[in-house]
Symmetry: C2
Subunit: 111 residues, 2 copies
Amino acid sequence: MPSAAAVLRTRASVFAALGDETRLGLLAKLTNGEPLSIARLTEGTKLTRQAVTKHLRVLEDVGVVFSVKAGRESRFALDPRPIVSAQEYLEHVSRQWDIALARLKALVEGT
Amino acid sequence: MPSAAAVLRTRASVFAALGDETRLGLLAKLTNGEPLSIARLTEGTKLTRQAVTKHLRVLEDVGVVFSVKAGRESRFALDPRPIVSAQEYLEHVSRQWDIALARLKALVEGT
DNA sequence: GCAAAGAGCAACTAAAGGGTTGCGTATAGG
DNA sequence: CCTATACGCAACCCTTTAGTTGCTCTTTGC
């Protein structure tokens, strides 16, 4: 069982990886399921292939993406599991908020 | 209607704001609904009040948090709307991925 | 067998981020 | 009043990050 602090750190790093316009764009290209090469992912980005590569490494480090070598090119595909995890966390936060608000409201209204 | 690029940029900045361990900790303290002062939020952080203030500004800039002045202290409270929006986006991404996978699978199996 | 395509690696730069310290200001309360 | 509390602002430092350039290596395909 990972410590609570480690969980926090992991979650933060996933959000950090998602916290970039370019990387969100890359994810969008990968949501259709088909693994894409770096050259392919670079098209239409105004960036160098190297820059895109770095972004992909960031995404790969947090597990949102993984790569498979196919001949001379390495294809990247999406792994939705960390995304689902992050999504559930946000759901949890807003849910806790709702519960807390209801509780406070009941308090004010004298129950 | 904001442009698609602007939407992307906004979303990215929200994720970026969430992409920090300290800030996730601050959010956690605010999920119980009660607005807290900066001094209060600084307790148990190993950080300076100034550092915490900066983090709060980051959260405030993306609308995840807002402040209300109360005498000599300014209290921060959570606004779950951007969080809900981010959550829905992640849900959308993983959902698209599921759909795409199903489609690819059907293709391979010859429909 | 050779040119072109697809990538990896390393060094470098500019800018952004996280953090601190120091100082000034307003409010609460004895 | 006068002190302690709660902040805001600004300057500064160090580290990380985004991006580029240049070079090398492997694979493709004619």
